[in-house]
């Protein structure tokens, strides 16, 4: 088991024939992911990467039975692409695109909420994220596949390369991953840390979760409270941005300390208060998790 993606997923790629879409769709296919087709308006009826191309998402869903869409549509048009996926019946939308206007995301969120109120179950992950990977089964994103290996650790993160760093350390320490979810660095995200924690808690394959956050917003604090109130599995937390100056955006649109909220110190305190194991040194994520699980195993054995 895993969360969100498995070998039984059926994934289409929106922005399939563009340069980013093509490059990464090929990487996903080479990894063995079930990519069943793609969408580029006006290219319907052609073939790309040995997969059918459709002009609309609903054509693609009808022909392939796709349940997941991986979106590479350029930022000015990305919100429309997401809305098209919602409308076509896609239930998992993974948006890689960086630089989508925040108000576009506010409107997209409203549309997803109203679809879900009408009985649909639509989940969005991203935007501005590396995507989702269930190692050995399905990679829907831009992460380097080879650093991952299947295993028991769930990861949820706001950052791309920081996640690769954590995955690499875990794999080096002999710990594989159940699913790795990049929720993205934007102020409004499709899925929050807490929502992904809830999925990991229910997943039998996952035995522990690593949560990687950064300054800005209150998602880490909310997730910490969720972990305290609803989780039985151990959660490890790292928060980037201890040395970031207030009022400046640190690359990610969402990584900013505004009016004294979203600070590193506040997040670390919330995590600790809620019983999350905080890793201060980025280089020690893998070793901390490994040491904890080893100790736990001994205690269980004893």
């Amino acid at each position: 088991m895993s969360i969100l993606l498995s070998k039984d997923s059926k994934v289409i790629v929106q922005g399939f024939t563009g340069s980013a879409g093509s490059f990464h769709a090929k990487q996903c296919i080479d990894y063995g992911s079930p990519i069943v087709g793609g969408v580029t308006p006006g290219r319907g009826g052609t073939t790309h990467l040995e997969r059918p191309v459709f002009s609309t998402v609903s054509d693609a869903v009808r022909a392939t039975g796709a349940d997941t869409s991986l979106i590479f549509v350029p930022a000015p048009f990305a919100a429309d692409g997401i809305l098209e996926a919602v409308d076509a019946g896609i239930s998992l939308i993974i948006t890689i695109t960086e630089g989508i206007p925040v108000l576009d995301m506010a409107r997209v969120k409203k549309a997803i909420e109203s679809a879900n109120r009408c009985g649909r179950q639509v989940r969005m992950v991203g935007p501005n994220c590396p995507g989702v990977i269930t190692p050995g089964e399905c990679k829907a994103g831009i992460m380097p596949g080879y650093i991952h290996k299947p295993g028991p650790i769930g990861i949820v993160s706001r950052s791309g390369t920081l996640t690769y760093e954590a995955v690499h350390q875990l794999t080096q320490a002999g710990l594989g991953q159940s699913t790795v979810v990049g929720i993205g660095g934007d102020p409004i995200a499709g899925s929050s840390h807490a929502e992904i924690l809830a999925l990991f808690e229910k997943d039998p394959q996952t035995t522990a979760v690593v949560m990687i956050g950064e300054i800005g917003g209150a998602g880490e604090e909310e997730a910490a409270r969720y972990a305290r109130d609803h989780m039985t599995k151990p959660v490890f937390g790292f928060v980037a941005g201890r040395t970031a100056p207030p009022g400046r955006r640190m690359g990610h649109a969402g990584a900013i300390v505004e009016g004294g909220s979203g600070t590193h110190a506040g997040k670390i305190k919330a995590l600790k208060d809620c019983g999350v194991t905080v890793v201060d040194n980025l280089s020690e994520i893998g070793s901390t998790v490994a040491a904890f699980l080893k100790k736990n195993a001994k205690e269980v054995a004893a």
């Binding site: 989508i100 969120k109 380097p144 390369t161 920081l162 040395t243 970031a244 640190m250 690359g251």
Partner: protein, 387 residues
């Protein structure tokens, strides 16, 4: 993008919000007499810089006659304004505004911000204007009124009325307030803002007036905001502007270790690791996922232009960005600029072996590390040694 007061008020006026009559925006005292003619006395002279707390720091002065106005303008123009928001070095005042000073009967607070959790804009109001809203929220949260806004519909009349009554406005001002609140939400939505703030919104004998204005806009939406695109970037330093031109995300900091990293999160994480190892980063720099050799070269040159840099740490986790490309970019940069400080490189991920080989065979003196912690410690030591 952050806008100064007069730019913010221009946006307000474009949506029909009442702002004080303006005499002018001055960069030179010679322009003062004509500005005083355009707006009636008394006047308020204000420093146009990107910082709150201007009044207490001497950046806002009242003038009843032309002589006082001249003294005020002379004192403010060219001064270095230090407020809690500017940092120790302060900001040099290059522009001042001259406005008619309204008689204030009551001050209120009104703003629209993005509520990340609710994923929608929210109007925030308080009957206690003039004060810093963060402080008020902390000390007396009950004094704050909040109203969520549907991003598709804007603020509706009844929602605006609810705020007006909660503020305790006299019935004759409610209609006027509804127009202002709806207009402010239109500014927020139509200009893709992340913050619009009026503090204070003043009740005067002639009605409600937006006495001050603050706007922060969403950089991601600039492509569809021609009015905002035409405004100058007042926040970025010259090096930051140069970086932006090359699509590099760079923010200058106070430390001595220059950093080049791929990815915003890892860039922050690298800065933090340097601090844990006892050093301080000189910058945040994300070369970006789509980095090519040329951009790496540019990034490297920008880091070395900062005279505070005593050592450089390159931390790359190759994914889409390949380590050999990064190595080639660094070597290309070193052909253009002479490296006078130690360089520590940590490569990991895609094509790491090829990248390391390129660096090792280049003959350039490079300190290498396999792990981030080792790299950070070496960079801290190197920065100390080169001082």
């Amino acid at each position: 993008m952050k806008l100064v007061e007069f730019e913010s008020k221009d946006l307000f006026a474009s949506k029909g919000l009442p702002v004080p009559p303006r005499g002018g925006i001055l960069r030179d005292l010679k322009q003062l007499p004509s500005a005083l003619k355009r707006a009636k006395a008394p006047w308020v002279i204000k420093a146009q810089v990107l910082a709150g707390g201007r009044g207490k720091a001497g950046g806002v002065k009242l003038a009843k006659n032309p002589k006082q106005a001249r003294e005020a303008a002379k004192a403010i123009l060219g001064m270095t304004l230090v407020t809690p928001q500017t940092g120790e070095n302060g900001l040099k005042v290059r522009e001042i505004s001259v406005e008619h000073a309204a008689r204030i009967e009551r001050e209120m607070y009104l703003s629209v911000v993005l509520d990340r959790k609710a994923a929608s804009p929210v109007v925030i109001a308080s009957a206690e204007g003039g004060m810093e809203i963060e402080r008020l929220a902390h000390e007396r949260p009950e004094a704050i009124i909040k109203q969520a806004v549907d991003p598709n519909l804007g603020l509706r009349d009844f929602e605006a009325r609810r705020i007006a009554f909660a503020l305790g406005l006299p019935p004759e001002s409610v209609g006027e307030f509804v127009k202002i609140a709806k207009g402010l939400v239109r500014v927020f939505l139509d200009y893709d803002c992340s913050l619009v703030e009026v503090n204070p919104l003043a009740l005067t004998p002639k009605g409600l007036v937006c006495l001050d204005g603050k706007v922060i806009t969403d950089d991601n939406a600039l492509f569809r905001q021609p009015v905002l695109r035409a405004l100058p970037d007042r926040e970025s330093s010259p090096l930051e502007k140069e970086a932006k031109k090359h699509d590099i995300s760079y923010i200058g900091l106070d430390g001595s270790i220059g950093c080049m990293v791929n990815g915003a999160g890892l860039a922050m994480g690298t800065m933090d690791t340097i601090a844990l190892a006892g050093g301080m980063p000189a910058n945040f720099l994300d070369v970006g996922g789509g980095a090519n050799e040329e951009r790496v070269t540019q990034a490297f040159q920008i880091i070395l232009k900062d005279p505070k840099v005593k050592a450089v740490l390159v931390n790359i986790f190759g994914g889409i960005v390949k380590c050999d490309m990064i190595a080639a970019g660094i070597l290309a940069a070193l052909k253009k600029v002479k490296l006078k400080v130690p360089l520590v490189v940590r490569l990991q991920g895609t094509n790491v072996e090829k990248g390391r080989e390129l660096l090792n065979n280049s003959g350039v003196k490079i300190i290498t590390a396999d792990h981030l912690w080792e790299a950070a410690q070496k960079a801290v030591d190197a920065a100390r040694g080169s001082r």
